[in-house]
Symmetry: C2
Subunit: 122 residues, 2 copies
DNA sequence: ACTATACATTGATGCTCATCAATATGAAAT
DNA sequence: ATTTCATATTGATGAGCATCAATGTATAGT
């Protein structure tokens, strides 16, 4: 990161793609590393348990939930749920806030819409 | 499918979700089978090789390509490329048209935008 | 200090799947 | 018919990963 940060890169930099803009929305073909990065981000939500976690938190009243709220409706071990939550947090999809003994997880605003937009831009 | 097909299910039936429409876009939590189906569709594009196939075909002049055009830029075996193309066709993302000895693959219009919209609707 | 609760981590296990080499299918040309 | 080219399929192999049981860590309450 040797360049001075710009204030105008927000919308065009979401995908991490080059700034070329062919008509019709088609950019140049993805190289190996670009494809691997995008695929690994998609793999985060390409899992039934994590999809259910996302929809469970969304359906929650406060838009947040702790592990103990999530382990029972999923029918999975507490350790497994904790594992998936960690993946979602590291992917920037979930936030994690510790309050006393509890850890509350919530959706990062705009994360999933951004991912969906990248799929549509393919 | 015992019901008479309706002409008005188009937009609401894309996701295969129930027709409940809570304010804020949050639907009820996905059950196990719904989540598995959605995840398996996402797994199709959560692969670097298939992402590159999609972008390669998109970048093609005629928006279509045969296997021999794709196997070299990917640096993979012909059998492997054929394998991924089959998965993309079965997922409804690619079309396949046989012309003589060649098989031409192209994008199904609207397939990826629909998938991206479902991600955004999470 | 001790106990109980909430969450994280570790190690092991089994399944899914991407990839290759090899072979099969099928169509076109000579 | 035979050869050649394009694609599909099969079987094997190895890597990634979801899951569990067990254990570790930290916080709150008694």
């Amino acid at each position: 990161m040797s360049r001075t940060p710009s204030l105008t890169l927000a919308l065009t930099d979401i995908s991490g793609r080059a700034e070329t803009c062919e008509p019709g929305g088609a950019a140049a073909a993805l190289d190996r590393t670009e494809a691997e990065k995008f695929a690994s981000r998609l793999r985060v939500i390409a899992d039934p348990t994590r999809l259910r976690l996302i929809s469970l938190v969304s359906a929650q009243a406060n838009r947040e939930a702790c592990v103990c709220d999530l382990t029972e409706p999923l029918g999975l071990t507490q350790g497994t749920v904790s594992h998936h939550l960690k993946i979602l947090v590291e992917a920037g999809i979930f936030t994690r806030e510790q309050r006393g003994t509890w850890a509350y997880f919530g959706l990062v605003p705009g994360a999933l819409p951004a991912l969906g937009a990248e799929v549509q831009a393919l």
